[in-house]
Symmetry: C2
Subunit: 245 residues, 2 copies
DNA sequence: CGAGCCGTTGAGGGGATTCAAGCTCAGTGG
DNA sequence: CCACTGAGCTTGAATCCCCTCAACGGCTCG
C-alpha cells in the first residue's frame, strides 16, 4: 500500500483533510492512536474516515463480519442484545474515547448491535490498518490491550451497578453513568423509558414512574426530547439514601 | 535471564518436571501458550508454576498489584465484587481454558477478587514472562487479544442471560452455564444458596425455593455437599417452557 | 383531524423479599 | 454414646416491589 507522508508542521491548508481533523480531535489524548507519535500518525490519517450517526441509527449490526473498529469522539453508543425470549437488552454504553467493535481485529463478526443514542461522531478505522500497524508499533498493541481491559471492566461494572438492588437505585446509578459522559454540563441525555427498561431490566411503566418521581423531587428537570437537567447534589443525596438501606 | 533449553523428545524422566505437566495438560489446545510451538514452549515451562486452590480459597484479591496471570486447567473460578451498599455480587465465572487476571499484563491491580468454587488447578504465568515473550512471538499477542475478547463476551452474555427475567429462568440459565464446564458428566457443581443469590441478584431463600422446586420436578438430584446430578433433558424442557412466555 | 408514538398514571395481581421458625448434618466435648 | 452447637438449607406467612393490563394526554406528522 502506497501513501504520502505529510509533514505535520505545514500550515493547516496544506494538510490532508483528515489530518486536520485528527490534530484537532476532541479525544486525541485518550484515543487509540493517541499513543502514536506525529510521524506515525501522518501515515494513517488518510485511511481513517470521520463519520456521524444520528440517534437510533445502527453503527454496526450483530453477526456482520467486521472490517473496522471505531473510536467514539462524541456522543453515546449503546450495545444491544436479545434474550432467547426475544426481549431486547442493552448490555453496555460507550462514550467519548471508547473503542468499539474490537472483534473486527480478530476477524470475528460483531458480537452485538451498536446503536447511536445521541448524535455520535466516530472515527472509522479499518481493521487491516490496525493489524498492519501493530507489527510496526509495539505501543499500539499495548494500547489495544488497555482498551480491551477497559471494556471488560465496564461490562463488569455494569453488572454490579445496574442489575443489583431496587429499581430506583439502578436508575440513579444509570443517571450517574450517563452524566459521567458529560462532565462539564448538567444537561444530560435521558433515554426513552423503554430504553431505560432495556438497560435496567424493568418495565417501561416502572421507568416512567421512577423518572416522574425524580422530577417531583427536583433531581431531574425534563427537557424533551430525550434530555434532562440533573441536579447533581440532589442526585448524590438520593443515591446515598438508597445505599444506607 | 538465563535458562536451559530442554529438547522435548527426551524421555519423560529426563524432562524438567513442569515440561511433563505442560505436555500432558488437559487444556493445552486452547490455553494461552497453546499457540506456541514445542521449541518456544520449551523455553517457558520452567517459569510456569502449577498450583492448586481449594474451594472458597482466593486466587488473587481485588486491588492487589498483579504480577501474574493464570490459566484455569480444571475447576470453576468466580469473580466477586461489592456494591457500595456492601452486598456481594458475583459478576462472572471462568472455567477450564480461560485466562484470568489479565489486568496484570497491563501493570494494573486486579479489578476484582477471584475465588475458587471447586478445587481448581491453575498455571501461574508471571506477567513479565508473557510481556517478554510477546516481543518475540507475534502469535502470542493475537492469542491474548482473542482471550480478552472472549472474557468480554462472557461478561455481556452474563448480563443478557443471568440478570434478565424471572428468577426461575435465571437459575436455569446459570445451571446450563455450570453444566457447560462439565460436558461429559451430569454431575455438576451446585453453588451454595447464598452464592446463587450473589450471582443472580436474589435472596438465598428464593434460591433455595427454586432449587427445591427443580428437585421435585426431577431436574436436579441433590448430592451434598455442593454437587448435584442434572437431568439435561428435563432442564432443557423447563427452560423452553419459560422462554415461550 | 385522525393515526401513531411516547409518556403518564391507576388498579390489581404476582413474584420476590423479609422475618421467622424448624430442619439436617457434621463436628465437638462432656 | 449423646447432647450441644453452628452452619447451611428449607419452609411458612406477611409485606412490598414491580409487572401487566388499561385508559388517557400530549405531541408530531401525514
Amino acid at each position: 500500500m502506497l501513501m504520502k507522508t505529510i509533514p505535520l508542521h505545514l500550515p493547516a491548508e496544506a494538510l490532508h483533510p483528515q489530518a486536520t481533523a485528527c490534530l484537532s480531535c476532541e479525544v486525541r489524548g485518550n484515543a487509540l492512536f493517541g499513543v502514536l507519535d506525529e510521524h506515525a500518525l501522518g501515515r494513517v490519517h488518510a485511511h481513517i474516515a470521520s463519520q456521524e450517526a444520528l440517534g437510533d441509527q445502527a453503527i454496526y449490526t450483530a453477526g456482520r463480519p467486521g472490517s473496522a473498529v471505531y473510536t467514539v469522539r462524541r456522543g453515546i453508543v449503546r450495545f444491544e442484545r436479545f434474550t432467547e425470549g426475544g426481549a431486547r437488552r442493552i448490555v453496555r454504553l460507550a462514550g467519548p474515547g471508547d473503542l468499539i467493535g474490537q472483534e473486527a481485529l480478530l476477524g470475528r463478526p460483531y458480537a452485538e448491535e451498536a446503536v447511536a443514542c445521541t448524535t455520535v461522531h466516530l472515527c472509522r478505522i479499518p481493521a487491516a490498518l490496525v493489524m498492519q500497524m501493530s507489527h510496526l508499533e509495539a505501543q499500539l498493541y499495548g494500547a489495544l490491550l488497555v482498551r480491551w481491559q477497559k471494556a471488560l471492566e465496564h461490562a463488569e461494572d455494569w453488572v454490579t451497578d445496574l442489575t443489583t438492588g431496587l429499581a430506583r437505585r439502578r436508575l440513579l446509578k444509570l443517571l450517574g453513568r450517563i452524566a459521567g459522559f458529560e462532565p462539564t454540563s448538567d444537561l444530560i441525555w435521558l433515554p426513552r423509558r423503554e430504553e431505560i427498561g432495556a438497560m435496567l431490566d424493568m418495565s417501561m411503566e416502572t421507568a416512567s414512574r421512577l423518572v416522574s418521581g425524580l422530577k417531583r423531587e427536583g433531581v431531574l428537570e425534563l427537557m424533551p426530547p430525550s434530555h434532562a437537567r440533573m441536579h447533581r447534589g440532589r442526585w448524590r443525596q438520593a443515591l446515598e439514601e438508597m445505599d444506607t438501606y
